[in-house]
């Protein structure tokens, strides 16, 4: 990245962190003077890169909505993620992430695609929130491997399928979809999002695919389609929660993350 552009992007990402994305990135230019004044250090390139990585992972997760995801977009985002991770492994910054892990447990939950995209088999095998904590261990093992295998290591230590296959594979979508819905449901619970329309039905924990089909047909057909961005935008408009959240302890941190990533 050219230095100039890197700085510019830093400025943009800057406003993200400070303002919680309440204003769009490209509107933030006017506010830069104000924000920089109150912001002691310009975020490092690493921080920008990390933010970009997080943003990309969130985008990938929200690809799977009711209409088949745009494959081109998913591939481009995945390539960007891979590019960042390659660079990070070269820098050796994978290790750094582990040390930050303690304060960002909830971030793992949100951005660890292995939780979201793994099949149920693998989910029972693997431990919870493996996320970035497995990196240092895997890092040495995978250092010599090529990028696609690094991606595998990132997603899940032992699981054969990685992030991409779960996205692209439409051949066994029922399984993916069910697991994905389950995982997304966890996220949605913790985010205390219960919008009154079909989103709740869609991501309920009922397993039977027949029921899902039903809710899809009744709930979705009459409603506007939820694009990936729309889901994000409905977060603020929640009502009370009435389900037990498994992650209440992470809620505050998760709130913080959501604030950053979602425009309120």
């Amino acid at each position: 990245m050219g230095e100039e552009e890197g700085l510019r992007q830093a400025q943009l990402l800057d406003t993200m962190f400070v303002r919680g994305l309440k204003r769009k990135c490209f509107d933030g230019e006017e506010d830069i003077e104000g924000t920089l004044a109150g912001f002691k250090a310009i975020p490092s390139y690493n921080l920008q890169r990390q933010s970009l990585l997080d943003m990309s992972l969130v985008k990938l997760q929200l690809c799977h909505m009711l209409v088949e995801p745009n494959l081109c977009r998913s591939v481009l985002i995945a390539n960007t993620v891979r590019q960042i991770q390659e660079e990070m492994t070269q820098d050796g910054t994978w290790q750094m992430i582990n040390t930050q892990n303690a304060g960002h447990a909830s971030l793992d939950r949100l951005v660890s695609t292995d939780i979201l995209c793994r099949s149920s088999r693998e989910q029972t095998e693997a431990k919870h929130s493996p996320g970035y904590s497995t990196f240092p261990k895997d890092f040495e093992e995978t250092q010599s491997q090529d990028s696609s295998e690094i991606m595998s290591a990132v997603s899940s230590g032992q699981a054969p399928r990685n992030l991409q296959s779960n996205m692209w594979e439409m051949e066994s979508p029922q399984e993916n979809r069910g697991n994905f819905q389950k995982s997304l449901d966890q996220i949605f619970e913790t985010l205390e999002n219960k919008s009154p329309n079909s989103v709740e039905d869609l991501f309920s924990e009922v397993d039977s695919s027949y029921y899902d089909l039903d809710t899809m047909l009744t709930g979705m057909m009459s409603n506007t389609k939820m694009g990936h961005c729309d889901v994000l935008e409905t977060f603020p408009s929640q009502t009370t929660t009435n389900s037990n959240s498994n992650c209440k302890s992470d809620l505050n941190e998760l709130d913080h993350i959501v604030e950053i990533l979602v425009e309120s």
Partner: protein, 484 residues
């Protein structure tokens, strides 16, 4: 202010004027009304649009010089003597003079509207199939009816649009209102006569080409043989015969054996305008492959590979995304092709693979905003591009309802806006300018004030004249040139 020359106007200054706008004026745009494709037919008399709601609307240009043709036809039939022949010449010339009325150009009016695709549900995958029309391509006209291909993500349909302006009257076996007559009551026979009726335009689906694409169809292209066409999705390209719906040939397949290794998808494909064995397809990595169907049944190996080497100084995490080609179009001559990526339009000579011959920056001022555009997904917008009839100019869209035109000969470019404000009949369009930094001049608009929701993705240029159709969300603007 000189506009960009199109058609055959070498050196003539001309300007673009507003002609018409179609669509609702409401601020609240219904998603189904968003125009998703625009295409002129081969003669330019018909203009088709497809929208997100699966509807196709066809506009027809009104014939303002129709009476001249009638007169001439009558004269040709009537005269047989040499004396009449001389008279024919003089009458014809005076009649033809009325043709050149610069202020009265044929307007496009609605000719036919029909629902091409309906939303579907894929039960196997529990996913909706959108009814949005991705592309419309006309077939060359062979008889009185018009044919076009329209496609959504999964299914291509061949539609026949025909006119009916006569009605048969005087049937023997049924009454005027259609009820069957009692055969015993029929005592005499008569010959039914054709009587004129109000023009009715009917659209009927003649072929449905389904179940051949696992991924989303992004392009269709009619071959120059007028018998076959190709359809391309993210990973495969299929070849069809227009008469056969239950079979298609797979000619390109870039799906990796292991989907984990997928890093590139097909973004657009087109047949060569003259060579029926040649087609190109573009990818998300900014490459174009030209294939010759004579070389092998499965064209996995390209005949030519077009890629511009990356500029290392401008490399960023977004380099690949902005290099992804959103549209590829052959020139009418067949010698060049044009590709559109996120920030630029490139013209390639088919004989030179290592770099384009011309590069035009569409909105370079967005380069510093790529992070924001990535965040709000605008970076994935797929802009189209088009040539004018003589291949001397190219046009593409941008944000804030701006669209850009580049004259390949004079190297001049112009930015125009499709807006209701400049929508007075025959109002000349004022060139727009985006201020990139420093002091903003009067009439300039700053980059931060651009409306990224108002994007012009689809534009079309009349095949022979300087008439352009620009789709701005749910409105279709038609602009024409005004010769000074």
């Amino acid at each position: 202010m000189a506009g960009v020359a199109g058609g055959g106007g070498g050196g003539n200054d001309f300007q673009w004027c507003f002609s018409q706008v179609k669509g609702a004026i409401d601020e609240d745009v219904a998603e189904a009304d968003i125009i998703s494709t625009v295409e002129f037919n081969y003669s330019g008399d018909l203009l088709a649009t497809g929208d997100k709601g699966g509807r196709v609307v066809i506009f027809q240009r009104e014939q303002e010089i129709q009476y001249v043709f009638c007169l001439r036809a009558w004269m040709l039939h009537a005269c047989t003597q040499p004396y009449a022949g001389m008279q024919l010449g003089s009458i014809e010339s005076s009649a033809m003079q009325n043709k050149s009325r610069p202020h009265s150009r044929g307007e496009y009016n609605v000719y036919s509207t029909f629902q091409s695709h309906e939303p579907e549900f894929d039960y196997l995958k529990s996913l909706e199939i959108e009814e949005k029309i991705n592309k419309i391509r006309w077939l060359p006209q062979q008889n009185a009816a018009h044919f076009l291909l329209s496609t959504n993500d999964k299914t291509i349909k061949l539609w026949k649009i025909s006119e009916r302006d006569k009605r048969a009257e005087g049937y023997n076996l049924k009454d005027e209102d259609g009820r069957l007559r009692d055969p015993f009551r029929i005592t005499a026979l008569r010959v039914p006569i054709l009587k004129p009726m109000d023009l009715m335009v009917e659209a009927s689906p003649r072929r449905i080409f389904a179940n051949a694409h696992t991924y989303h169809i992004n392009s269709i292209s009619v071959n120059s043989d007028h018998e076959t066409y190709l359809s391309a999705d993210d990973l495969r390209i299929n070849l069809w015969h227009l008469e056969i719906t239950d079979r298609s040939f797979n000619i390109v397949d870039i799906k990796p054996a292991n989907m984990e290794e997928l890093t590139e998808v097909i973004t657009a494909a087109e047949f060569h305008p003259h060579h029926c064995n040649v087609f190109v397809y573009s990818s998300s990595k900014g490459t174009i492959r030209l294939c010759d169907m004579r070389s092998s049944a499965l064209c996995d190996r390209h005949s030519k590979f077009f890629e511009e080497p990356e500029d290392p100084s401008s490399r960023s995490f977004f380099s690949e995304i902005i290099s992804s080609i959103s549209d590829v179009k052959f020139s009418h001559s067949g010698r060049y092709m044009m590709t559109r990526d996120y920030l630029s339009v490139k013209v390639w000579d088919l004989n030179m693979e290592n770099r384009p011959v011309e590069t035009y920056q569409v909105h370079e001022y967005l380069r510093s905003k790529l992070c924001s555009l990535y965040e709000n997904d605008c970076i994935f917008d797929k802009f189209e591009c088009c040539w004018n009839g003589s291949d001397s100019a190219i046009m593409t869209g941008s944000y804030n309802n701006f669209f850009r035109m580049f004259d390949r000969n004079t190297r001049r470019d112009i930015t125009l806006e499709a807006s209701r404000e400049s929508s007075k009949p025959r109002a000349i369009l004022k060139p727009r300018k985006v201020c990139t930094g420093g002091k903003r001049k009067k009439d300039e608009i700053s980059v931060d004030s651009l409306d990224f929701n108002k994007k012009i993705l689809h534009t079309a240029w009349h095949p022979t004249e300087n008439i352009i159709a620009v789709a701005a969300t749910n409105n279709l603007y038609i602009f024409q040139d005004k010769i000074n």
